[in-house]
């Protein structure tokens, strides 16, 4: 490797690039770190000015997030000493735990709806993309454009028709309704992304499998799917991030049984003052699944994002 090589950057430029990346990572990580730290602060620390970077950590935010509390008389408090560590935290404010909050339920709703719609989008998207990629479909280009056109306006623009339609169909505030809605929004992205990935897989692989005695579906399942894993993984992450973070429709269409975490977290603010540590705790927990999902698929994601940039 000569000193003029194009492929091997010099030490100085490597050092420079490394510093830039670290700097960028720090800047983007600060809000995230702040949220996570706030989750372990006491309410007074959370709103203190100047902001406290060093503080005494407490699980108060998490306890408040998962419980509902009521104020009690001194006699009651004296007669019933706290039995658990989390009750002790609450007692400092002369309160007792009345029961679990709705957060767990809402979080579970998010998981069901987010992963459900992601699975459905990927399932339908892969089949559709395969069909568009491999078969002669009449008006294929027009159909593809039609699918894409569903994303040409912000989804919220059709909120009122969807609201009315969902009320008529009884889909309001149901898991199924939200899964269908997020799938409808994600499917165009899924079909277009996956079609690109499947187009890149040479047909010869399937043809070889057909010749080797497999049916078209077996060839798809055993040869095309493993090849498309990269594309499927990165598409799944995009779909999950959308469904997981979606706020507007969730506010509009859910209130009870199918409410997801995003519209729930802000409601914490209203309960007994501005409880920032509880909000931060909720946000932290809410971040985890997407983070874990992305870390699990990160190998594929990197390849997915740079897909097509390099000729095989």
């Amino acid at each position: 490797m000569s000193s003029f090589s194009v492929t091997e950057p010099s030490n100085r430029s490597k050092w420079f690039a490394g510093t830039l990346v670290i700097l960028y990572a720090l800047i983007t990580m600060i809000p995230l770190a702040w949220i996570m730290l706030t989750g372990f602060k006491s309410p007074s620390d959370a709103i203190s000015y100047p902001p406290k970077v060093v503080f005494e950590p407490t699980l108060e935010g998490y306890v408040n997030l998962f419980t509902t509390r009521t104020r009690q008389t001194q006699e009651y408090l004296d007669a019933n000493p706290p039995e658990t560590w989390y009750e002790e935290i609450v007692r400092e404010y002369d309160m007792v735990i009345a029961g679990p909050s709705k957060f767990g339920e809402r979080f579970l709703n998010s998981v069901i709806i987010g992963f459900g719609s992601t699975f459905l989008s990927i399932f339908l998207g892969t089949l559709a993309a395969y069909a568009f990629s491999r078969f002669k479909i009449p008006l294929a280009d027009d159909l593809l454009f039609f699918i894409l056109s569903t994303r040409m306006m912000p989804p919220i623009a059709v909120a009122i028709p969807i609201f009315l339609m969902y009320r008529q169909l009884g889909l309001s505030d149901t898991h199924l309704g939200m899964i269908l809605l997020y799938t409808a929004v994600n499917i165009s992205l899924a079909v277009w992304l996956l079609k690109g990935f499947i187009d890149e897989i040479p047909r010869e692989y399937e043809e070889a499998a057909l010749i080797d005695g497999y049916t078209r579906f077996q060839a798809f399942y055993k040869v095309v799917l493993p090849q498309a894993a990269t594309g499927i993984a990165s598409t799944a992450i995009f779909c999950l991030i959308f469904a997981w973070n979606e706020y507007a429709f969730a506010v509009l269409l859910t209130s009870g049984t199918a409410q997801t975490a995003p519209p729930f977290i802000p409601t914490i603010i209203g309960v007994g003052g501005l409880d920032w540590p509880a909000v931060a705790a909720g946000a932290t927990i809410f971040l985890l699944p997407v983070m874990i999902f992305t870390i699990l698929l990160r190998k594929h994601l990197l390849r997915g994002i740079t897909f097509g940039a390099v000729r095989k």
């Binding site: 040479p202 692989y205 043809e207 070889a208 010749i211 005695g213």
Partner: protein, 365 residues
């Protein structure tokens, strides 16, 4: 092992006709070449035999059984792709096992069969390697292995040497031919390389513009071309075409070119108008005497032989002679032809006129 009979097969892709009513028969155990320029329909024909495309009309018989509309999995035909198409997510052993597993063969038998085939092809030591890192030749061998592992009735090969570099091609061509001779399996091989076709094939079909131009042994196709296209496509340099206007009577043994009577094989078909006198470079005889003369334009030295390009009254002519003959550019030489080896064509239709030379070939083709 099997005979393949193609009867009036046709393939349309929308308005485009890839293959027009073509018929030919591939005998059991033959190494059969489908030869033609790119886009002539040879690959489509091959894919129809394998079942990767369904013909628009016509029949394909494999051992007497009509298979043209059957899915590929029910045809028992193996296919070797130009780009090999090895399953990239599997190692060599899995690639070879795959066709056997699909037939529901027992695991132990699969293992034994794979080892046997790997032994034949000399790839035993790479069985556990992923296919990604293999060299072109090894990929080619694995692709062949995947084809032969289940003892199919016939092999289809779509330019299997096209992806290899020139040096290795020759070696692989020999290996392929040796493998065929050892197994005796009916093989259909698509190529655009006329040399490869002549070298390896028992029989050749020459296709152009979706039609079969000629069908026969390499010798027949070289010596007795049925059309001007075949005459031009086969051979390097290709056949000379000297155009002239005149009349050829049935039974004639010479034609009149530029006022000279030039011998041809006894004609069995009369024609008149624009005709073409076709002669291979090696059938041109140069001499100092003779009334039909041409001027030397260029010479090309090829070692044992040389190609001499001459300007004649009827067009450019290339002659192949021994390289010991010294010829200067601008020299005028007498030109003679080996009369029994000449083919006359009708310039309009491009078809050869029937003569004693090609009568047998033309009547069965």
């Amino acid at each position: 092992m099997a005979q393949i009979r193609i009867n009036n097969i046709r393939k349309d892709f929308g308005d485009f006709t890839a293959v027009k009513e073509s018929s030919f028969t591939i005998e059991d155990g033959e190494f059969f070449m489908l030869l033609g320029p790119s886009g002539c329909g040879k690959t489509t024909t091959l894919r129809m035999i394998a079942g990767l495309e369904l013909p628009t009309s016509g029949e394909i018989y494999l051992d007497g059984e009509e298979i043209s509309q059957k899915p590929p999995s029910q045809r028992d035909i193996a296919f070797v792709f130009q780009m090999f198409a090895l399953y990239p997510h599997m190692n060599v052993r899995k690639n070879l096992s795959y066709p056997l597993v699909s037939q529901g063969m027992a695991r132990r038998d699969v293992k034994a069969k794979v080892e046997e085939v790997a032994g034949i092809l000399g790839i035993t030591d790479i069985l556990n390697r992923p296919v990604g890192g293999l060299s072109g030749g090894d990929r080619q061998r694995v692709a062949l292995g995947r084809a032969i592992v289940r003892d199919p009735k016939a092999f289809m090969m779509d330019e299997p040497l096209g992806a290899l570099d020139a040096e290795f091609r020759e070696h692989m061509a020999e290996e392929l031919r040796a493998l065929h001779d050892r197994m005796g399996a009916t093989t259909v091989y698509v190529t655009h390389d006329q040399l490869e076709a002549m070298q390896m094939g028992d029989k050749i079909v020459v296709m152009n513009n979706a039609v079969v131009e000629q069908f026969g042994t390499p010798q027949e196709i070289y010596d007795k071309p049925a059309t001007m296209f075949v005459a031009d496509f086969i051979g390097s340099p290709s056949m000379n075409f000297l155009s002239f206007e005149g009349t050829v009577a049935e039974g004639a043994t010479s034609v009149d070119m530029h006022g000279q009577a030039i011998g041809v094989p006894r004609q069995m078909q009369g024609d008149s108008g624009k005709l073409v006198f076709g002669v291979r470079p090696e059938h041109v005889i140069l001499s100092d005497a003779g009334d039909y003369r041409g001027e030397v334009k260029a010479t090309e030295y090829l070692g044992t032989t040389q190609i001499i390009t001459l300007d004649t009254p009827n067009g450019e002519l290339k002659a192949r002679t021994g390289s010991d003959r010294i010829v200067k550019t601008g020299e005028r030489l007498g030109i003679g032809f080996e009369a029994p080896k000449v083919t006359l064509f009708n310039e309009g239709s491009g078809q050869a006129l029937r003569s004693e030379l090609n009568n047998k070939v033309l009547s069965h083709g």
